[in-house]
Amino acid sequence: MQSLEKQWVTACLDGSNLTNDIIDYAAWIAEKVNSPLELLHSIEHSLLLANIDQTGNLVPNMADNLMAVLSEEEANENKLHIQEGKALLARAKDRLKGRPIKDVITKQRHGSLSECLMDLEDEIRVLVVGFRGKTTPEDETGISEQLEESIRALHKPIFIVNGDFAVPQSLMLAYNNTDGAKKALDMICRSPLFEDMTIHCVHAVKESGADKDILQQAAEQLSLSGRRFETALLSGDPQTELLAYQAKHHLDMTVMGAFNHGKLRSLFFGSFTLKMLKNNQKSVLLIR
């Protein structure tokens, strides 16, 4: 158990309007899987410079002087960001007061979200992030670059919060013949997180009739684990069919394997994972 104790449910907070929901979902997961919770705030440095200097002459000791000016500017800016982050983390910690979570720690790091996550990868058990960041416009339908980068960078389960918190009662497992999906199925069977949920194990294929075996095997595994479950075989475009199924049965969240295809394929056809994320109204748990 020792090694597990060092791993945290990690919630990434940036002050967006999903912040409270991220905290609630993360707390719910941490309670369920009996894991400590880490609240993470990353301070991203942008390339954008406030001042533009057009004097192109070299003056003596320019390097040292410029260094002093730049460090001063950045020091002030960073101090401010750290303050803001501290306040955000303190509010989050306040919200969690009295909840039966093993341990709550907060952490601040410099760098973009994906950089931070890569540095911390070893201590992350599950990552909880918001679908929209603070800088993403409200009406933006696409997936933010920051999120995509983080999903690609991190090889841990990622829970993507998309909307108000409510304890999920049911989930849709987008199942197919890939390693990611099998890993997701294993996790659902094993993890206490899914104990009280109804599992809809759904397999979507372009042409009907094929691959009934796949679902059969999944059903066997699910019944062994004692989960409440249903299976369904859909035919048609997987993305549309899966989402329609989810809407029809009012399922609270989606679980799926992520990025099973090579980079090249995603580049040309767009990633299925990203499409599913983009069009989903509910929260999604991605298994890498």
Binding site: L48, I52, D53, Q54, T55, G56, N57, L58, N61, S71
Partner: protein, 496 residues
């Protein structure tokens, strides 16, 4: 390379990058012309080079926001090649230097930069500044008083114009110098040398051309020494500059990629009829004031070419005095003035390293020799200092007639003689114990010294026992890779 990183590198700071690019391009034009004159080629060679190198390094370099172009450091190395063999051999040497730099990148030679101490780096910059200044002297000797007056006026404008309210911070003062001095020379009809007198200016876009040289072994032997020097100096200045920019922007860069990038840029420059170059510390610092992305370097190169091709006719009337003033500014800006003040407070060894680097460079006109001198001196000083960290304690136990030597510290080539001198071979004893468990034997000189001591003591009739040799010889680190293993280092260095 991740797509999002690429996007950030190129488009993270568009407005600042493009404005910085224009400022840098304006500053690069006089410098490129001046460096061509140093190398002894037509101004267009340096201008094409600066365009090609800046644009290529923007794409393939490892340090976004760093400016590379034709440089004084590289130009100084080309003088005799151009004089003896002509332009085509210079182009070939530039290409070969690029190839060598790419190879250096693949061999991870960028790691060697860690041998360059602060003193060597300061010496490098000071030497470079002195050489740039000295290269202006031919323009200032045997000339009429007009040239001195114009140069002085140019310097005054460069340093005072930024204090003019409002427009002072809008226009780069070197540009103002060029415009004012050119106007003066034309208006008053002063007869002084102009850029047009120095050789051909670009009239077309650069074209792709293989250097016109015989592809023989003989050619290779002619250009190889120059290519090696250019490759080494180019990488040195580029990696040093990258370090400065890393510090200044508080970001990391890919030094290995930068080595290969410098190589590709020089190959490209040679094929487009330009000379080899490298990163420029001064210009890079000017650039990071407002530009941080790859776009700034790219637009500097592109604007340079556009401006040069369109204003080539006007460029030819610019008096050399304006160029000299700008180069004096570059020299003053490159020199590390703080290092003069530090002479009094720094340890004497640091001063010796710095001054040796400067002296050797100024004497040979080759920064590589200066840097090698500095690195060798620094290493010798370090080895000399480590020699102090060894001593031997000895005790005599009368009841057992045993002499025990306890060796503590670093035993290596430079301390092995000292190690031997601690032993008293004239003492007649039955038994000698040499306890080395707190010593570190770094090389075979150390082992050899120990062997020598043992044999000598045995000859005098003593039984010799060595204790703790296993621990001591663990430091023969050539056998192990100690790096990255804290517990191993702890084991080796424990007790210190």
């Amino acid at each position: 390379m991740r797509l999002s990183q690429l996007k950030k590198d190129w488009l993270g700071n568009i407005r600042g990058d493009i404005l910085a690019g224009i400022v840098v391009a304006l500053a690069l034009i006089p410098e490129a012309i001046a460096f061509s004159i140093i190398a002894g080629v037509d101004p267009k060679i340096g201008l094409y080079a600066s365009f090609a190198i800046a644009v290529i390094i923007a794409i393939v370099g490892g340090r976004p926001g760093m400016i590379s172009a034709a440089t004084a450091a590289a130009a100084l190395l080309m003088v005799t090649l151009v004089k003896d063999h002509g332009l085509q051999y210079l182009l070939a040497a530039s290409i070969l230097a690029g190839v060598l730099q790419v190879i250096a990148g693949y061999l991870n030679l960028h790691q060697l930069i860690s041998f360059i101490s602060r003193s060597v780096m300061v010496g490098f910059l000071n030497a470079l500044a002195i050489l740039i200044f000295m290269a202006q002297l031919p323009e200032l000797t045997n000339v009429t008083w007009h040239v001195y007056a114009l140069t002085a006026l140019g310097l005054a404008i460069i340093y005072l114009f930024p204090y003019v309210p409002k427009i002072g911070t809008l226009l780069p003062s070197p540009l103002v110098t060029i415009i004012v001095l050119s106007a003066l020379v034309i208006a008053l009809d002063i007869d002084v040398r102009t850029i047009g007198d120095m050789g051909q200016l670009p009239d077309t876009l650069p074209i792709f051309l293989w250097p016109d040289i015989p592809l023989t072994l003989e050619t290779l032997w002619i250009i190889l020494p120059y290519s090696i020097a250019i490759a080494v100096v180019g990488l040195l200045e580029s990696l040093m500059t990258a370090q400065v920019i890393d510090e200044m922007t508080d970001t990391d860069s890919d030094k290995r990629r930068e080595c290969k990038g410098q190589g590709i840029a020089n190959i490209g420059s040679g094929l487009l009829g330009g000379m080899a170059g490298c990163a420029m510390i001064g210009q890079s610092i000017i650039n990071v004031k407002s530009g941080r992305g790859r776009l700034s370097t790219f637009s500097a190169g592109l604007f340079l070419l556009i401006m040069v091709v369109f204003i080539a006719d006007y460029l030819s009337v610019v008096p050399m005095a304006a160029l000299v003033a700008i180069m004096i500014m570059v020299s003053i800006g490159t020199f590390n003035w703080q290092s003069l003040k530090d002479l009094r407070t720094n340890p004497p060894q640091a001063t010796i390293i710095m001054l040796s680097t400067v002296t050797v460079t100024v004497y040979t006109h080759n920064l590589a020799f200066g840097v090698i001198t500095g690195v060798v001196l620094a290493s010798l000083f370090m080895a000399g200092r480590l020699r102090e960290y060894m001593y031997i304690d000895s005790q005599y136990d009368e009841s057992t007639q045993t002499r025990t030597y306890l060796v503590i510290g670093q035993v290596f080539f430079n301390s092995s003689e000292k190690f031997i001198s601690y032993f008293d071979f004239k003492e007649a004893v039955d038994k000698v114990i040499i306890d080395v468990h707190r010593a570190h034997f770094w090389d075979i000189s150390a082992i050899h010294a120990l062997d020598k001591v043992v044999i000598k003591l045995r000859r005098e009739g003593a039984d010799v026992e060595i204790m703790g040799l296993n621990e001591a010889s663990e430091t023969l680190v050539d056998k192990f890779a100690v790096h990255d293993k804290p517990e191993k280092i702890e084991k080796v260095m424990g007790g210190h």
